[in-house]
């Protein structure tokens, strides 16, 4: 392989690894190339990154090399992450949302009954994200708050209304018929 080509492979490995890669680790992949060569190509690559004034750097950390973003851009990265985070749901939120969507209106105790864990925090998060709203109180002792899903919830999942949600039955039908219908 030519130097340029080896350097390309090293760059790709650094990119995909996400964590510092030691020359030894790279050597394990590029067996035919000697360690000294790998190290000098890593330094060349590092210099090239510096020289082209890009938004990326190659740093030597923890015994390895890693592609990182320089401090100057960190404010923008934080901003991107914030935007992304607001569009995401964690598994507990998802579970809770599923329960509310299918069983609404319902109270916190009913959610916790199914999930088996305290769900106050998750419900609060869903209220903040506007996927869930309070629609009143249940007429039982203590008058607990009743929750339901919102318009924003429908929008996020691309549904016109709540009856657009597939039923568990429809869903099971898809699963059961798996493998059926073809010759086997």
């Amino acid at each position: 392989m030519e130097d340029r080509e080896i350097k390309g492979v090293i760059e790709a490995l650094l990119f995909i690894s996400g964590e510092p890669l030691s020359p030894d680790r790279i050597k394990n992949v590029l067996e035919e190339i000697d360690r000294g060569k790998i190290k000098s190509l890593l330094w060349e690559l590092q210099q090239e990154y510096d020289m082209r004034l890009s938004g990326l750097r190659i740093v030597e950390v923890a015994g390895g090399f890693q592609i990182v973003t320089p401090p100057e851009v960190s404010q923008w990265i934080k901003k991107l992450k914030k935007i992304k985070q607001s569009a995401r749901l964690t598994k507990p939120s998802l579970e809770t949302l599923a329960i509310i969507a299918y069983k609404q209106p319902l109270v916190k105790a009913e959610i916790e009954d199914i999930r088996g864990v305290d769900s106050a925090g998750v419900i609060k998060g869903l209220l903040d994200k506007r996927f869930v709203k309070i629609i009143g109180r249940k007429d039982v002792p203590g008058r607990p708050i009743l929750y339901a899903t919102t318009k924003e919830f429908l929008q996020y999942f691309g549904l016109k209304d709540i009856s657009d949600l597939p039923t568990l039955k429809e869903f099971n039908e898809l699963a059961e018929e798996e493998g059926a219908g073809s010759l086997s």
Binding site: E19, L97, I99, G116, V117, L168, S184
Partner: protein, 238 residues
């Protein structure tokens, strides 16, 4: 005439018909229906001989072919009165075959793209310096139903809300998880492998909480391989 039928697996009757048309090198717009119907029926016979399960669609198509064949044998005048201007009895079948063929071609093109693009790698996750986002997943409607289904299936017994004696159990479970990850080495363990010893919902919940806590303090990493693969748990190197 003699011919051999290789026993290939056909997705459905249309697939088999297209195969027979190609094999016999006949014109799709002028299918020699007797020949093709005969070979089609032979194929079904062969499947029966081999005790293969024959899907209903294959039998339905057999009936259709026989029906078309009989129609074509009728004198022209009689069909004219029934059908508009004596439409070819094969027309509907031809239309379906052509439509199906179009998508088979499109599927092949997708297959070629797949061949190239599955060798293209990108980060399935954000490269992140702050570990917490790794527990975040982007979700769709399907995930919502899936989440509910999983819960219902895994934990059939109705459980009342109980307070978990956290500290002790949770801590014990955290230690146990770390021990198992030590044994597992750099490959880590799947989430399910870690949970499979838990038979009660409470145990599952505690293990979950232990994992979340360990991820929060960055003793472990939770990664979902390539978009939607299984969740794997790794010991954090540093």
């Amino acid at each position: 005439m003699t011919y051999q039928i290789k026993l290939e697996v056909f997705e459905g009757p249309l697939d088999l018909l297209l195969h027979l048309i190609k094999k016999n090198e006949v014109n799709i717009y002028d299918i020699p229906i007797s020949l093709i119907a005969q070979q089609y029926l032979d194929y079904i016979e062969l499947m029966k001989d081999l005790n293969l399960e024959i899907a209903g669609e294959f039998l339905l198509m057999a009936a259709t072919l026989i029906h078309i064949k009989s129609k074509m044998l009728l004198p022209q005048e009689e069909t004219v009165s029934e059908e508009e201007e004596g439409e070819d009895p094969r027309a509907e079948l031809v239309r379906r075959l052509l439509e199906y063929q179009r998508f088979k071609d499109a599927a092949e093109e997708l297959g070629q793209r797949e061949e190239i693009w599955r060798d293209v790698f990108y980060h399935p996750h954000d490269i992140t310096t702050e570990g917490e986002e790794e527990v975040m997943i982007e979700v769709g409607l399907f995930d919502l139903i899936d989440a509910l289904r999983e819960m219902i299936e895994k934990i059939p017994e109705k459980m009342s809300l109980e307070i978990i004696p956290e500290e002790l159990t949770l801590r014990g479970r955290m230690t146990a998880v770390m021990e198992r990850l030590d044994i597992a080495g750099p490959e880590g363990l799947t989430l399910w492998a870690l949970l499979d010893k838990d038979t009660t919902r409470r145990a599952i919940v505690i293990t979950f909480l232990a994992l979340l806590e360990l991820a929060r303090v960055r003793f472990i990493k939770l990664l979902q391989v390539e978009g939607r693969g299984t969740v794997r748990v790794f010991r954090n190197e540093n």
